[in-house]
Symmetry: C2
Subunit: 307 residues, 2 copies
């Protein structure tokens, strides 16, 4: 089944203690699409300016991403400049230049409206709702959000939550939205606002998922000093998750658990190199290898019986 | 096989936002023994004063703990007074009264020296080494430590690490001892200092284990606002871990993984009530239930195949 993603396509400047890269391909929809396309066909809706290098569009197309919903307009592409400290645990935004994203009012092309799975990347929740209302009622719709909207547009978020099937957010956002530092309790409260599935990303501590009433907690893929650039970890996580659901064709507790491990594995690759470099290199074989290694790690026999 | 624990038996005063309890049974060896005795016979070495209520000794004995190594001497029992904030994530020590623990020089009774598994609870590392040298070479010896010793007695810790099979410590301590905030790298560095097994406790984020060269990461048992008193979580974790190893009779990658899940499960019970109250209630059946629920949660099928 096809996956539709609506979000930003950007030019990123990224500083880490080791190196700085300038104006590389970034944006939530780009990371999502790269990761998702490893599992299922992706349709992308976004906007870039005439300053956007066409080679990036070709790269997306080479991965099978349908870019016919990427609006190329007179103006400047969204630019983000960030700086990482402390093994990537701490991030500072140096500069944001919204460019054409400032007036982004996404319209889903007619031929994308039958998408089985939809991801509304982080964006003003009223725009996310606008998109959710354009796709079929049968679609499985997930969204991301951020602290800014929780702070300033809580009403819009609550309306959005009533319309979507799943919310993917990080631990700080979950605490903020759920009103408690207890993440299981926060996820339950958020689920009570609408979405049956809530996924809380905990960075190097893995992820927590509430699905069909079950609480599922998985550790991160154990990495040893392999973090190069954490940018896009969350969006590639969401891309792999939605891609795996689409590949399986349904959202159940079982498919969501497998998809969650795929999400953890793909985001572990994402952060090993700058920008989309590592995601461009890996294949399903690489994913299977780490997935299997997670599966071996997490498999325990019944109490007292050997594996 | 029998498990020997050498550590503190204390009287704790604990303040939480909900309630304060005064002079209840505490100490690393008490928590360890309560948890461990659910899995295997325990032998305890420690010291208390004549002010120590004999009912606590009877309670330990009722759990099958051999208290013949608990020295009851003229003087004051070790007292600890702590205060918790923020769902137990933050702790402040209000007062410590070392009492007889100040001059604690543990001697392992002759009849305890054949113990198959030995746990050296947090204590001055030179004393831990003194104990380690009193038990048989065939014993599986694990130890705990704390920031204070890493700071002030690094040489003694390094000597201890050369003698023991495993070290159990928390994330902050592992970062401190390993010299990096990357916990997998820190665990590897610590293992390079001697112990084949290193376990890093991450509180509500679970635990990381290095065993026989394998990296194993498990999430915490998902709890929803169930934390009453975090005191003893780490010592009951260690008690269940060593108890399960002793029950299986050997330390291998397989038994250590099962023991790690038992440790996570038992510490999740420990923090549900004050002091040792909850550990005194639970049975192997309760442990099996949570263990099975962890096993179900962590079980995923091969990629794309239903469970």
């Amino acid at each position: 089944m096809d996956v539709l993603v609506v979000g930003s396509v950007a030019l990123d400047t990224i500083e880490t203690p080791q190196r700085t890269v300038e104006e590389v391909l970034g944006g939530s929809a780009s990371y999502f699409a790269y990761a998702c396309s490893l599992f299922a066909p992706v349709r992308l809706v976004g906007v870039v300016g005439t300053d956007f290098d066409k080679k990036y569009i070709k790269q997306l197309q080479k991965r099978g991403v349908d870019t016919s919903g990427l609006d190329v307009r007179e103006g400047r592409t969204f630019r983000w400049h960030g700086c990482y400290f402390d093994h990537g645990d701490r991030r500072e935004t140096v500069r944001v230049e919204p460019g054409l994203m400032a007036d982004f009012e996404p319209d889903v092309p007619e031929e994308f409206r039958d998408s089985g799975f939809v991801f509304l990347a982080n964006c003003n929740p009223s725009l996310q709702l606008h998109v959710a209302n354009q796709v079929g009622q049968g679609a499985v719709v997930f969204a991301d959000t951020m602290d800014l909207w929780i702070e300033t547009q809580r009403e819009d978020i609550l309306e959005l939550l009533g319309r979507i099937d799943g919310l993917i957010l990080n631990d700080q956002e979950a605490e903020h939205l759920g009103g408690t530092t207890d993440l299981v309790a926060a996820a339950m409260k958020i689920s009570g606002m609408g979405p049956g599935t809530v996924i809380v990303k905990k960075g190097s501590h893995g992820a927590l998922m509430l699905v069909e009433g079950d609480v599922v907690s998985f550790p991160a893929y154990p990495m040893c000093e392999g973090v190069c650039d954490p940018t896009g970890a969350g969006d590639s996580f969401a891309g792999a998750f939605m891609g795996m659901l689409a590949r399986e064709g349904k959202l159940t507790s079982g498919t969501a658990k497998q998809a969650l491990v795929c999400a953890i594995v793909v985001s572990s690759f994402c952060i090993e190199k700058f920008s989309l470099e590592r995601l461009a290199e890996i294949s399903m074989e690489d994913i299977e290898e780490r997935y299997e290694s997670c599966r071996r790690m997490l498999t325990i026999g019944p109490l007292g019986a050997e594996e």
